[in-house]
């Protein structure tokens, strides 16, 4: 077995990622079949067999397996990306630009970059002729960003064999680096539970020149104001207690105790999001014409509950806060929380590899504040972890679902090396 030339592997990964980012898989509508075509071409060239399954026109999923025919490690990634607000980007979000040591584009972090680490890991295991004691699967799924109905949820029903695995490595937690030096790789065994709610209120339509007091837009604005003033409880669940302590031990923060964490949450929206149920107003829509009072106004709330929170209790509280009988509250989705264990061989291997490859780096458990496809595996009792082995600066993190999303070439190299080594140790004889 020859040693891997990591310079060459990195250059290859950079080239692949740039090409991948040029494929616009904004969801909606997705068009993930284009991404699958791209990935299929690469696997074909390596002589690796794969399967493709179409879940809807223009939307497909890809699966490949190396080694034994069942179980093993699944490298899971989603091929869709969230839409962009182009006017805020300084580069073409679908240009795959390489400049300033960074590869730019929607999906660079979430999660085409990780998808390329997984793909390269998969290919390298084959090229290196690694003897596989356990199976490795590569699964590129559609529609993660819109709830997975045409991705992993579809696969669960129509291609259950693709989900035959003992462990899932997926997005869900990035490594962090602080300008002061500390570096930490985070591993997420659980995540917050989304609860998407649509509010609809009706009023009386009419001519815009005569305000009549029953304008649905005004009803909605008043109710939303009450929602934004709603104070919710801060609470430290066990995984977050471990997180806080690990981040402190890694030199990442000076917050060590529950008390300090609760105090810090008042200042830090990102910590607050992991210590409470959150509510975000994400859309408001009404109106057909400037001089017509609309008949109906809607808003959506993106609520994220702590993994152990009861959605029904939360909805009950929300109705009380809205305090408007005219308001229809519709639940757009309903997920269930689940958590994977942290005392596993996977976590041990991650810890070992990180310690060997990156001097001074530590690992920390984390709770994903977003949601990922891991939830579907966890509910089936399959351990699934968020683990994107890059070390990001805060401003790079802001690119996730934001503008000017990018990943450094240095992080591509790091992510590739760490992921490959972790997977190799887990599956090789």
């Amino acid at each position: 077995m020859s040693r891997i030339d990591w310079d060459a592997a990195t250059a290859e990964a950079v080239a692949l990622l740039r090409e991948y980012l040029r494929i616009d898989t904004s969801n909606p509508p997705g068009n993930e079949a284009l991404a699958v075509e791209f990935l299929a071409g690469i696997l074909s060239a390596e002589g690796i067999a794969f399967e493709v399954a179409e879940s809807a026109p223009g939307r497909s999923n890809l699966f490949a397996r190396l080694g034994p025919p069942a179980g093993g490690v699944c490298l899971l990634n989603h091929t869709d990306v969230v839409p962009v607000e182009r006017e805020y980007w300084s580069v073409d979000p679908f240009g795959g630009e390489l400049s300033d040591g960074m590869v730019w584009g929607r999906g660079a972090l979430d999660m085409k970059g990780m998808g390329i680490f997984e793909l390269m890991t998969f290919i390298l295991l084959k090229r290196q002729g690694v003897e596989l004691r356990e199976s490795v699967t590569f699964l590129a799924a559609a529609d993660e960003e819109a709830g997975s109905a045409f991705g992993v949820s579809w696969i669960e029903r129509h291609r259950p064999a693709w989900m035959d695995t003992d462990l899932v490595i997926n997005e869900g937690a990035y490594g962090l680096v602080s300008s002061r030096g500390p570096q930490v790789f985070q591993v997420a065994p659980t995540e917050k539970v989304p609860l998407w709610v649509k509010l609809t209120v009706r009023g009386r339509p009419g001519h815009g020149s005569v305000p009549h007091g029953d304008n649905c837009a005004e009803h909605l604005v008043q109710a939303l104001e009450r929602v934004t003033r709603w104070q919710r409880e801060l609470r430290i669940v066990p995984i977050m207690r471990s997180h806080v302590q690990a981040m402190h031990a890694a030199g990442f923060s000076n917050v060590a105790t529950d008390e300090a964490a609760l105090a810090e949450a008042q200042r830090s929206p990102s910590l607050r999001a992991r210590l409470s149920n959150t509510v975000t107003v994400t859309t408001i829509g009404t109106g057909i014409k400037v001089n017509v009072i609309p008949a109906e106004a809607t808003a959506t709330l993106d609520c994220r509950l702590l993994p152990d929170a009861d959605p029904d209790t939360f909805l009950h509280e929300l109705r009380d806060v809205l305090d408007d009988e005219r308001m229809q509250v519709e639940v757009l989705n309903r997920f269930i929380g689940a958590e994977s264990p942290m005392d596993t061989r996977f976590v041990q291997v991650v810890s070992d590899v990180v310690a060997e490859l990156v001097e001074g780096a530590q690992i920390a458990p984390e709770m994903t504040s977003g949601f990922t496809d891991s939830r579907i595996y966890r509910l089936r009792g399959i351990p699934a972890y968020g683990f994107v082995p890059c070390l990001l600066q805060p401003e790079e993190l802001a690119g996730v679902h934001g503008h000017n999303e990018r990943i450094s070439v240095e992080n591509i190299r790091l992510g590739l090396q760490v992921l490959y080594e972790v997977v190799r140790r887990l599956v090789s004889a």
Binding site: V82, P83, E85, Y88, E145, A146, K192, P194, W196, R204, P205, G206, H207, G208, S209, V210, P211, H212, G213, A217, E218, V221, Q222, E225, T228, P269, S270, R272, A273, T278, T280, V281, T282, T283, I284, G285, T286, G287, I288, K289, V290, N291, V292, I293, P294, A295, E296, A297, T300, D302, R304, L332, S369, G370, F371, A398, V400, H401, G402, H403
Partner: protein
Amino acid sequence: MIDWAAIQREALDIFVRYLQIDTTNPPGNEKPAARFLGSLIEAEGLETEYIETQPNREVLVARLRGDGSKGGLMLCNHTDVVPVEARYWDMPAFEGVVRDGRVYGRGAVDMKGCGVMQLIAFLLLKRQGLPLKRDVVFCAVPDEEAGSAWGMGWLCKHRPDVVDVEFELSEGGMGAARFAGKPARLFSVATNEKLAAGLKLTAVGTPGHGSRPHEDNSAIHLMRALLRLHEWDRGITYTPDTTAYLERLADAGLMPPASDAAAVEAQIRRSPALYAAFVNTLNVTMVNSGIKVNVIPAKSEAMLDCRLLPGQDREAWRQEVIRRVDDDRIEVEFVTRNATGAAPAADWDTELFWTINNVIKESMEDAVVVPSMTVGATDNRFLRGRGIPAYGFIPCLLSPEEAAGFHGNNEFLTVENLNMGCELMYEVVRRFCC
């Protein structure tokens, strides 16, 4: 002798067919409407002119010649209608459904119904062969509902010869079957109108993932601004016009006497339509924020329909709204940048007003006829701007339910009102022009 029963059947048939022409603006597509009305005029052996202002948008002009001893009267109506929220309608909006003595359809009151009344008056004058002192100009224009740039605004700029008349009648005033909660026969002849000063609010924040709420959410900034505007009580402003209006209503027993200011104010505030004549109105009509349930929007927009009292300054209003919004993350700009300035009020004490007054009083003894102000905007402003007494006058007694049809759902006009409107319109025009 006019066979009114036959005329009523004719008017209803025309009305139903006219409502079937979808002239929703945007985009308008008013040409088929102009052609439809024009064909009815041509069938009487009269000439018509179609003036294209944009592809598929036309003005229709037809003229009955007078002997020139007096100036012309224009009967002006717009052929476009506002959009429909079809899911709130109990019937198709473009089929001209006749049910229980009502004719339903977008435009029934605003203003295809009045267009038919004007057309019938015009056709009857021709059929009766009466000698005219004044030219009578029938003019159907597109684009009133979207600012008139391709309708009356265009006509005044490019074809001033068409609008060279002494008087004009269009929409803006009408009869009300109830006033301040009581039965009434109150006919308003609109001589003035408010000034449209619609505003667009744009809030800018920081985008992000819905799972990580932060304080710089543009939707929240916008919502708070709208709430501050909603809570802003702009009081009641009396102008000489509206004071005179209240006095006339008090004389007719429809308002408390001016001496009882508190009672007057209470009654004004009880009726949204009346209150709108005494305040700069502000109505949130559109909000557009966010692209996806899990993405914090970077930008959020709202449209406010604002109508200013006559004599107010648009820019001063914008500045006042900016002060109320009190948030420099929010930009406040006009929806229409180069709107026409306020037109002067038309003189109410004219031969046309008194003709209307007399015709109505003769037909309904207890009717009250008052000059008034329109709270919306109409094409009359263009003609008033040229010094022409342009009156808003739909000669029907609309019930509150019918009046709610202006830009509302299930818009309808009763057959009874259509008949009344045709007769009154004909009589006003005949008496004024013969």
